[in-house]
Symmetry: C2
DNA sequence: TCCCAAAACAAACAGTTGTTTGGTAGGATG
DNA sequence: CATCCTACCAAACAACTGTTTGTTTTGGGA
């Protein structure tokens, strides 16, 4: 049977702090002392909860994927216009990526090979998430022989890269998603 | 007058090694000892050429931007169909980003805030480069009120993010550029 | 050939890194 | 109330980091 956790368990706080710091400064620039200090613990104490820094990253990654998928689910479930569904999915993705919880930002910001020992698991988590997007694109009414894979890679790349240039307050994720999907959908000939 | 450099100057070798390592492992994961070792020098000797690790990164960045711009120039200069010109520009960008010299990869891979003291200069170098792309997009014959800024951000994001998933041999930069531009240009209604 | 500056060596510095080890306070459980 | 194991503390470890300092080698112009 599973061992009962105690009420004063600060593990969630540790995860939150790690997510915040990883999202802000990146994986490499964040030390175990930074994380421990942020929750008032000593560095060594973290190793009661996680076997290594890389395992801690995996835990944050897992929670991150879980949250983005949860934020995406309602958008993907709604019936009606497939283009509208895609736009909402993009908006949800952007929201979690740009202004949402730190967990989501970590999944996009931190490269799997920053933690070589666990890189395959991180890649798998990313893929698991991107797969959800595939469905939204599969449902689009498109001309025959349209390269749906390229479409997914292009759209997802554009969304993810927005973390580089996005500044809060100037654009909302909603408006951004709208603009991007429009550029794809509307005919470009004048 | 400028002091004459000597023939046995290994500075270019240092830059090449730094570019290679930064592109492969990232800035943070590459130590000065790694770079020095790659050219058979001692760590301290690097400080004859560069005041700091961050300044070394700036030098690589500068060379990277110089090369990408050079690769882009012929594509932008050629007359004829603006869409074709854009496609060629994308192909040139992708080539330098995915299979070209390590310098170009560094510009995309290494985040400016990895080196806080010189971050503004790195951002300026990036902007300087992206500006070249703006012209190619400005020349496109588009419907009125098309959001050209969003188009640039979307396309450039899609291209840059390709560094994440691209595997040599499966797609060529040329083919990729063609596919991306087509997705934008061709009407999506079936 | 002489000489100087360019270019690199040799060795250390102080600080930080992830991690380990042994001990211990205190909620939960009987 | 006695016990047990969770959850942490305290302190250190060895390795590695970017950087500095003083010294030596070496190529090229006079």
């Amino acid at each position: 049977m599973a061992p009962a956790p105690r009420a004063d368990n600060r593990l969630p706080l540790v995860l939150d702090a790690a997510a915040r710091l990883f999202a802000e400064k990146g994986y490499g620039a964040t030390s175990m002392r930074d994380i421990a200090g942020a929750v008032g613990m000593l560095p060594g104490s973290l190793y009661y909860h996680f076997a290594s820094k890389e395992e801690l990253l995996v835990a944050v990654y897992e929670e991150g994927v879980r949250r983005i998928k949860a934020a995406l689910a309602p958008a993907l479930a709604q019936p009606g216009d497939p283009w509208q569904r895609l736009e909402n999915a993009c908006a949800a993705h952007l929201a979690g990526l740009l202004e949402g919880s730190d967990y989501g930002q970590v999944v996009i910001r931190v490269r799997p090979d920053d933690a070589p020992d666990v890189a395959p698991r991180l890649v798998a988590l990313r893929d698991e998430y991107e797969h959800a997007f595939s469905r939204a694109i599969h449902d689009l009414p498109l001309p025959p022989r349209t390269d749906r894979r390229a479409l997914r890679l292009m759209l997802l790349g554009a969304l993810n890269w927005s973390q580089t240039w996005y500044r809060p307050g100037k654009d909302s994720p909603q408006a951004l998603a709208r603009r991007f999907v429009r550029l794809l959908r509307d005919p470009m000939e004048p």
